[in-house]
């Protein structure tokens, strides 16, 4: 039950609007089970063809769902990104490069909001990438299952098609993410000193939110990629989150904590 459970967890952690946009993994699995438990059909028999067609149809509709959602979000991100850029420009113009004139407090306030918005926009975009990836992973897994259970040869060709679907082509979002990261540098105060993070207390991340989702996503990714009994050459190697001094240990509300 590993991937299915992980996916479910991820969906639970995700932003509320996104909950029903993920892969219906369980449903697909049921279908595969149904197909494989039916009396064995010879390849080429009409029954077999029918059930495969049904499976494919379901997959396609899932893909459509991903595409629609993904592109909608992408469009939003483009707009917000542009709007942010304009806001920053405006603030910079009004106050000059140094945060002194008219009202410093107001500058700070405006800048504060901008920073928060950039970080959140960045977060949402990354979460969208995660969305794309986890759905892709799910598709790959369910296809593998299908082939295994029914002896079909659906996976290879189908996955090739998936690779070209809009929701999987995340180049633009990735580019926007990097641009955000650049924007951040110009908007956040320069790091005066290296943060001393010795006593890295556990930070409890409460509530739902982008940060929480990002952490959950990382953890899920790690879990999914742990070695399994069906590990094969099509599997990804385990995720090795190299330790970075900047990320203290996080603890979500649940007892799961990310070991440093």
């Amino acid at each position: 039950m590993k991937f299915g459970k992980r996916l479910k967890q991820q969906v639970q952690e995700t932003l509320p609007d996104w909950r029903d946009k993920f892969l219906s993994y369980k449903e697909l699995k049921k279908l595969v089970r149904l197909i494989s438990s039916a009396p064995p059909f010879l390849n080429g028999s009409s029954e077999y063809g029918k059930s495969e067609a049904e499976f494919v149809r379901l997959l396609n509709s899932e893909i459509d769902k991903f595409n629609a959602f993904f592109m909608e979000q992408e469009e939003d991100f483009i707009i917000r990104h542009e709007a942010l850029k304009q806001r920053i420009q405006k603030v910079i113009d009004t106050w000059g490069a140094s945060a002194s004139q008219p009202s410093e407090a107001e500058y700070k306030e405006r800048m504060g909001k901008i920073r928060k918005d950039i970080v959140n926009l960045h977060g949402e975009m990354v979460l969208l990438e995660n969305y794309s990836n986890i759905n892709y992973t799910g598709l790959a897994k369910i296809l593998k299952k299908y082939d295994k259970r029914t002896g079909g040869l659906l996976r290879l060709a189908f996955i090739q098609k998936v690779l070209e679907e809009p929701f999987f082509i995340t180049d633009l979002v990735s580019k926007l993410v990097k641009q955000c990261e650049n924007m951040i540098d110009s908007v956040f105060p320069a790091e005066e000193e290296e943060k001393e993070n010795e006593g890295r207390e556990t930070i409890t991340v409460a509530g739902k939110g982008i940060l929480r989702n990002a952490i959950a996503a990382l953890m899920t990714m790690k879990e999914i990629r742990r070695g399994s009994s069906t590990y094969s050459h099509f599997s990804l190697p385990p995720l090795n989150l190299t330790e970075s001094d900047l990320i203290p240990s996080f603890q979500l509300n649940s007892p799961i904590s990310v070991a440093r």
């Binding site: 039950m1 590993k2 509320p16 993994y25 595409n67 629609a68 592109m71 909608e72 992408e74 469009e75 483009i78 707009i79 709007a83 909001k113 920073r115 928060k116 918005d117 959140n120 977060g123 949402e124 990354v126 990438e129 790959a140 897994k141 299952k145 082939d147 040869l153 290879l156 996955i159 090739q160 990735s174 990261e181 943060k195 930070i203 409890t204 991340v205 509530g207 739902k208 939110g209 982008i210 940060l211 990002a214 070695g227 399994s228 009994s229 069906t230 590990y231 094969s232 050459h233 990804l236 385990p238 995720l239 090795n240 989150l241 190299t242 970075s244 900047l246 990320i247 203290p248 996080f250």
Partner: protein, 431 residues
Amino acid sequence: MEARPAFSIQRSGAKQLGNLGVSGVLSSSLPLVPTPLEETCPKLPGSQQSSANTASLLMSQSSSPALLQSTTSSHYINENSASWCPEPLPGFLDFPTNTTIQNNQIESNSCAGVMASEEFGKRNDWQEWADQLITDDDALTTNWNELLADTSVADMEPKMAYQVPKPSSNIPVQHSQVHPQLPSPSAEIRPVLTPTSSANSAPTKSRMRWTPELHEAFVEAVNNLGGSERATPKGVLKLMKVEGLTIYHVKSHLQKYRTARYRPESSEGSSEKRLTSIDEISSLDLKTGIEITEALQLQMEVQKRLHEQLEIQRNLQLRIEEQGRHLQMMFEKQCKSGIDVVKAASSALENPSTLSSDAIQDAPAKTELETAQVDCGKTPTDTIFASPALEEGSQDLNRKHKVSQTETPENSEPYNTDSSLQPAKRSRADA
């Protein structure tokens, strides 16, 4: 409300209508209609012309009649106006009021209009009649124009019919009844996903994939038109001159744009309102701006990390599939000859979890043969992971995997037919 029973009867009939989507009164006397209509409503042809003309503008966007089918939505508004000719249709119960030419899609209107004028002869009687009803309507044409210009027209996403400004008041608008009644025609229409450059003929269903460049052009057009409040979708569409862009795309984009710009104080986007990342970090003292900044930076770091990992993962996935495909092709070439040889050799190769370079070195040639199993493509090579470009600290992984490898290269037979390279514990279903 005579129309109601009509709807329930209408279901199967409506399906046939396809692009007309006329869910009107169906009765056996329908076939009689077209003739009387033509004869007794001389003004029809005239108005038909005008609507056909205006309609043809939109028609040019359509590439084929089949696609007109796809503009059928299950939502039609009752449309009726003084220009209907109720007299010639005595055979119908409340025909004039139940014309049920409901149409909130401009394209459907226009398409139907064109069809009526151009393809009259091609339809079955029912459709001809319906065409006639749809097209011969001055008000219709006017409405259509108004709709185009009206920026406040409901956007395309929610498929709720809206009322055309000028219908007679006695026409009930049967949105809710229609909706559930005609799910199938529209549900079967697959949304058309179009790249930005291709021409698109199913405007309500298609999705435009926006890019920053396109958006920039959009912004420029909007600015030239006086700002986001004053700009109209039609104007923007005209200014942008982008092929394949429809007014629906522009309209919805404009809506989003306005929302994003006029709420800069509150967080951008609705979801953000519910989430403030800062609220999450409760153990930190958030009183000062510095701490907020720190919290933000922390969040940023996590996000960056996630992004990094996602990119890596995606690249790996791409490469894996690429290799699989490549091998599949290779295998298919070699498949003709020497399968037996391969089978014998492959039994010694079942080593699914091997990431170690040792194993790879041992069997560089064998990996090719490995793919010559019956279910080819599913036995990709170790070479994927032999690639030094593995960002995930391949050294580390190699070590780990050497340790964890359950080496059973002797697991011969079971693998010849099974697609996945699993060790004997195949029973454990993954997930």
